[in-house]
């Protein structure tokens, strides 16, 4: 379902006098339909950039990201946006809920930008699934951090995605809530038939996954050239 080949991404670096420094260089990575894989990596190792490239939030410099038979690298920004809206879900460490929108509206917006119909009943059922059926009209600020992450999970699944990307989803939660959130993400993805690619540096999180891939082995960016 997802096959990555020779993917490269550089950013201009002030430390390198504004010259591009390679952040991501992944020769090969594959993820099957419905598979759940964790990537282990320390802060600054390029994990988030890798997820953003897969999500199409960033344009790759070169390589291929084959997702359901489409090479994202060859697509323009609008087409990548559409693909993400229709077939991907994204769970952020900081939840990134829209504070001015209700819980239900946050989830509804998760299915609003694809080509499909907005299904409020599906949004409600997802929120009931994550235990927030009685909080539909609440605003994110009225919820605990654990509840907010559950809204983020429901939102990521709102468009019935083929792939869910999770970037340190438990990073802002305490241990118990982190475990609960992780279990929820895994169960919800399994129920929805969505593949899950999760990045984390937390051994407790990673311990629950098999396989766990080491991102520092996967990602081999070129060392900055000396001036």
């Amino acid at each position: 379902m997802l096959t990555i080949t020779d993917l490269r991404k550089s950013f201009p670096s002030p430390e390198a006098g504004g010259r591009p420094v390679e952040i991501v260089s992944v020769a090969h990575f594959a993820l099957g339909a419905g598979e759940q894989v964790a990537l282990r990596g320390e802060s600054g190792s390029g994990k988030t950039t890798f997820l953003n490239l897969i999500a199409g939030l960033l344009a790759a410099d070169s390589g291929r990201i084959e997702f359901d038979g489409t090479n994202l690298v060859a697509l323009g920004e609008a087409a990548r946006d559409r693909l993400r809206a229709e077939r991907m879900g994204y769970i952020f460490q900081t939840f990134n809920l829209l504070q001015g929108f209700t819980v239900l509206e946050n989830v509804v917006l998760g299915m609003s930008f694809g080509g499909g119909r907005v299904d409020r009943a599906h949004a409600r059922s997802l929120l009931e699934r994550v235990g927030l059926g009685s909080r539909l009209q609440h605003f994110p600020r009225q919820l605990s951090t654990g509840q907010q992450q559950r809204v983020a999970v429901a939102r990521a699944l709102a468009n019935r995605p083929r792939l869910v990307l999770a970037d340190e989803p438990t990073g802002n939660l305490d241990r118990r809530r982190g475990q609960e959130a992780l279990a929820l993400i895994r169960e919800a993805c399994a129920e929805a038939g969505a593949a899950l690619l999760l990045v984390s540096h937390d051994p407790e999180v990673l311990g629950q996954f098999s396989p766990v891939r080491d991102f520092t082995e996967l990602n081999r960016p070129a060392a900055p050239s000396a001036t």
Binding site: G44, S45, T48, L57, D81, A85, Y90, S112
Partner: protein, 401 residues
């Protein structure tokens, strides 16, 4: 439903700035519409208010002053004309009707005008409309100390049929210059929405013989209102009085003289319009400023929407539409401002000139100004919309790890 939801939530989230901005737009739109309506309606009303007469004959002087004095009951009379002059014009074959007027007194600031009964019984003050006396009243008779009071003056002075009053000398109210004569109100005119509504009408002889007025000029008149048989007669009399004679002034045609006045004070309209335009631009600028100022706070929300799959042009459209919606809210509220302002202005104009402004009248500015303001606001939304368009998603949402 996505765009309306985003708009609704954004407006709710920034409710205070939305209200303040919409308020300033309401003022701008209201002011623009009032300026145009007052200009258009007052000009039309003044030009069309001939009170049924084609021309005015008076003492040598300004035609405009003569018309303002005899038709609008404003300004002082340029001087008197003799009874012989009146007889001459009255008997002229080109003249259909001649109504003499004598002014010089007031009652608490409202003019007292001496004239003849036929003004109220034979003359149409507008096409198909004759003066009418309210039930229970009648027109003054002959040389009696009787008065027929215009509806506006009666209302303001609290005069009713049977009431009496003592005139004051001069056109400006001075309590120390009261005449001895006592006049009785015998009738109140139905409203005509003309300057006649502000006048207390008494018999011609009443003014002419008022104690304190110089008896030498007891037969003199202030002006003669004229209906002509043909337009050509006007040009003929213009030649006779204005070109060949040098004692009298023949003001003809009445509408053109007033139009000429508006031409002369056109600069005032332009200044008002300029002020209204400036207010409109400032209001549109306030939309730009308020949305632009909130862009930093919205940056994260915009990035989240992008991460959920919203296209750049969707966010651009959302911000431009939001600016237009604020403009539309302001434009709608502008009609309330317009109604309130125009009602006040109309009241002042009516009190000062007797000319009625119709607050409910239609004019193209009533759709042009709101639509132009909405378009201007949408235009003002383009700059913050470009900022929304350019929000870098990955950079805004999460630090690179």
């Amino acid at each position: 439903m996505t765009l309306p939801l985003i708009l609704y939530r954004s407006l709710r989230q920034h409710a205070l700035s939305t209200l303040v901005t919409a308020g300033s737009i309401a003022l701008a739109v209201g002011l623009l519409m009032v300026v145009w309506m007052v200009k258009a309606q007052s000009q039309r009303a003044f030009v069309e208010t001939s009170t049924g007469f084609d021309a005015v004959l008076g003492a040598r002087g300004s035609r405009l002053q003569l018309v303002l004095n005899a038709i609008f009951h404003l300004e002082a009379s340029p001087g008197n004309i003799t009874a012989a002059d009146f007889e001459q014009i009255r008997r002229h074959p080109a003249v259909k009707a001649a109504i003499p007027l004598a002014v010089g007194d007031n009652y608490r600031g409202y003019r007292i005008v001496g004239t003849v009964e036929s003004l109220f019984t034979q003359v149409e003050y507008a096409r198909g409309r004759r003066y009418a006396v309210q039930p229970g009243g009648r027109v003054f008779a002959g040389a009696a100390h009787e008065a027929l009071v215009g509806s506006f003056a009666a209302e303001r002075l609290g005069l009713r049929v049977g009431d009496t009053f003592q005139p004051y000398h001069g056109l400006v109210f001075d309590p120390s210059h009261q005449h001895e004569e006592i006049y009785t109100v015998v009738g109140i005119l139905e409203p005509t929405n003309t300057p006649a509504d502000r006048v207390l009408w008494i018999p011609l002889a009443g003014i002419q013989n008022m104690k304190g007025h110089d008896p030498k000029f007891a037969t003199d008149l202030s002006a003669v209102l004229l209906q002509l048989r043909t337009p050509q007669a006007g040009f003929m009399l213009d030649m006779m009085y204005n070109r060949q004679g040098n004692r009298l002034t023949f003001a003809y045609p009445v509408g053109a003289i007033i139009a000429d006045l508006f031409g002369k004070i056109g600069w005032f309209d332009r200044v008002l319009a300029l002020v209204a335009y400036l207010v409109a631009f400032v209001a549109a600028g306030s939309v730009l400023a308020s949305i632009y100022a909130s862009m930093s706070a919205r940056r994260r929300d915009l990035a989240i929407l992008r991460a959920l799959g919203a296209r750049r042009h969707t966010l651009f459209a959302a911000v431009v539409t939001e600016a237009a919606v604020i403009g539309a809210l302001g434009a709608v509220a502008g009609f309330i401002v317009y109604g309130a302002l125009l009602t006040g202005v109309a009241r002042i104009i009516r009190a000062q000139t007797g000319v009625a402004i119709d607050v409910l009248a239609w004019h193209p500015v009533l759709w042009v100004a709101p639509l132009a303001m909405i378009a201007l606001c949408a235009l003002g939304g383009i700059i913050p919309a470009l900022k929304a368009y350019r929000v870098p998603v990955a950079e805004t949402l999460a630090p690179t790890s």
